[in-house]
């Protein structure tokens, strides 16, 4: 979509944009071109560490002090931000963000809706869920890839064989398996932890099934019991102690460029087990409701450059592994190129297919807390043999108290 270019201004204008690594790099790449089209306008980028950034944005919205003109928000925080009241309704004139809906991957666009169904954020990049597996370990254990992907039960069974033959763990943590199973089995348009009536739904069959499989994984010592992004997890990947990694497509880039570059060529990507499709992370842009209204036209123009510009999206994908949410950027020949880290596989085509099949979920402002509660109860099941039904009932009780706060 196009916005009239602003002409030369009598007074220099400075827009403040806040972000976190590596989104800040993507913004830095876009800004010079955008500034050239907007004489007299400068963009000041404030970058903080991932958690610090979202804490700072919460504080800025709550006090209406030091509000940026534009903020980047990571998908896992969208429940709290989009369903609060601090972001500007972009469905209204002159933005009419609804018109952008066909241009973006469905699930990503729906994450930016507030409780009234209004659009308050526009997606930039997404993390289509994928399974990365060590094909050398599979070959050593004589396990075909179909065994990993056929169903969740066959995935665990394959892990048993891999562990026996190679000593490698199937996955970093049983919690990861539970998380992705639950997320994949949410009915389209439904909520992961809360139903449409704001009631917790953690005693549903899907949670029971996910908890049972996670418990089986732990009892057979198939998970390494390490948390992602810790030193133990990175060492496990470097030393070939982890046979699979379930994550977003961007993980392949992280592994290739930082976590375990020594394993280049040993990994292959596949869809998640049971042909499941889910998202892992992503970036969205939003305007604070109480930021200076006189600059909204300019800010919207910058937001459009960051989200709707095909070339900018592709550059972000090539340089920062930020998979574009913009459909127009998903048909570039770059998608056909082989990935050396994945043994020459054309994995981007696989991820594009996954992105199109990810169901839209309804967020809840207590999403992060619900995550914690359910994980704590899973820990009780895995470590202290707490009965699954009792664990889920306890989680349900805690969330019932929280749902209305």
């Amino acid at each position: 979509m196009a916005w009239p270019a602003a002409g030369a201004r009598a007074h220099p204008v400075q827009l403040t944009v806040t972000a976190y690594p590596n989104v800040d790099q993507i913004i830095r790449a876009v800004v010079p071109g955008w500034e050239a089209q907007h004489p007299g306008v400068k963009v000041r980028l404030v970058s903080r560490q991932y958690v610090d950034h979202h804490t700072a944005m919460t504080t800025a919205l709550s006090t209406s002090g030091s509000l940026p003109d534009l903020m980047a928000l990571e998908t896992s925080y969208m429940g709290g931000f989009a369903l609060g009241g601090g972001l500007l309704d972009l469905s209204q004139a002159p933005f009419h963000a609804e018109l952008l809906k066909p241009e973006f991957t469905d699930f990503a666009f729906s994450l930016g809706r507030n409780r009234d169904g209004k659009q308050v954020a526009v997606p930039a990049d997404i993390g289509p869920g994928t399974m990365l597996y060590r094909h050398d370990l599979l070959a050593q254990a004589r396990v075909p890839v179909e065994a990993l992907t056929q169903s969740w039960a066959s995935y665990v069974a394959a892990g048993r064989q891999i562990k026996k033959a190679t000593g490698a763990y199937l996955i970093s943590h049983a919690r990861t398996l539970k998380d992705i199973m639950v997320r994949c089995k949410v009915p389209p348009g439904g909520g992961q932890y809360f139903d449409a009536q704001n009631r917790p739904r953690v005693t549903d069959a899907v949670f029971v099934e996910a908890f049972e499989l996670a418990r089986q994984l732990r009892r057979e010592a198939l998970d390494a019991q390490v948390v992602n992004w810790t030193a133990d997890w990175a060492e496990g990947l470097k030393r070939g102690r982890l046979a699979t990694e379930l994550s977003g497509a961007w993980m392949a880039g992280q592994m290739a460029n930082g976590v375990c570059p020594n394993t280049r060529g040993l990994w292959t990507a596949a869809h998640l087990p049971e042909q499941s499709f889910a998202y892992y992370g992503g970036t969205n842009y939003a305007l604070p409701r109480l930021a200076d209204p006189s600059r909204r036209e300019l800010v919207w123009s910058l937001l459009s450059a960051l989200t709707c510009d095909r070339q900018a999206q592709l550059r972000a994908f090539k340089q920062e592994d930020a998979f574009p949410a913009l459909r127009a950027a998903q048909d570039d020949p770059f998608f056909d190129e082989p990935l050396p880290f994945l043994n020459g596989q054309r994995a981007r085509l696989l991820w594009r297919e996954a992105a199109q099949r990810i169901p839209a979920l309804r967020m809840h402002r207590q999403h992060k807390f619900a995550d914690e509660v359910v994980n704590a109860e899973l820990d009780n099941v895995l470590e202290f043999n707490k009965p699954i039904m009792k664990a889920l009932a306890d989680a349900q009780q805690v969330l019932e108290v929280r749902a209305s706060r």
Partner: protein
Amino acid sequence: MNVRVPIRWAPYVLVSPFLILFALFGLFPLLFSGWLAFQAWEPSYGLEAMRFVGLDNFIFALQDAWFWKSLKNTLWLALASGLPQHMVALPLAVLIHNHFGRLRDGVSGAYFLPYITSTVAIAMLASALFSTDYGMVNAALQALGLDKQAWTTHPLFIKPTIALVVFWRYVGFNIVLYLAALQTVPRDLYEAARLDGAGPWQQFWHVTLPSLRPMILFGVTLSIIGGLQLFEEPFILTNGTGGTDQQGMTSGIYLYRLAFEFSDFGGASAMSWMLFALVALLTWLTNRALGERR
């Protein structure tokens, strides 16, 4: 323009930098937190969205299982890391004071070093030591034919590991406190005790300990306050989550997460005042137990 400040104002002008900073960064947050404890507030709507809810946040805190769990963790860690600090620091300070002569400053400095080292560096070191598959502690255990343990991820080991790191970090601080106090004990008392036939143990028990009583009170009070506000070490060792089954989630971590991650500033403020009441109560009890008898 020549502005002359009357001389009687001078003291106020001189202390005003402190007072201004204290008002901004000490008093205002305190009062604001007190105000917030009685409000329901969706922070992203801005300050105007506050709604008075009376004691609701306090009632919620009393009914919140996670708050009680965090409090239990905090008390456990405060006791398990605080008590050994003094049990070790006190005799060690006496040993250093009596037997290390010129080396005293160097030895106490070595013990003090962890206290002035960055918490992040300490947590990274602890992670490397206690890593399940690649840590030195487990490597040593396996060399001895023992099983490796998940020190930072198994629910049974998380708190002891954090307590050990906190103990190691603060024991040197207490040694320095006690060394300073030992230097103020008059030599005459020891000479008199020796003339009366008191041995080293009796001198320690009847001369050193009573003389150190004010410093013990001071050190224990600091440990109680620090222990109940414990945040950095468990936060970094558990990646900011409190770890498996929230076994390392102290009240400080929970309050932070409740406010900034779960957007419940009212509940977090109410809990922080309840925690303050607990700190005040324990400090008063300590004063009653260890303070001067009148």
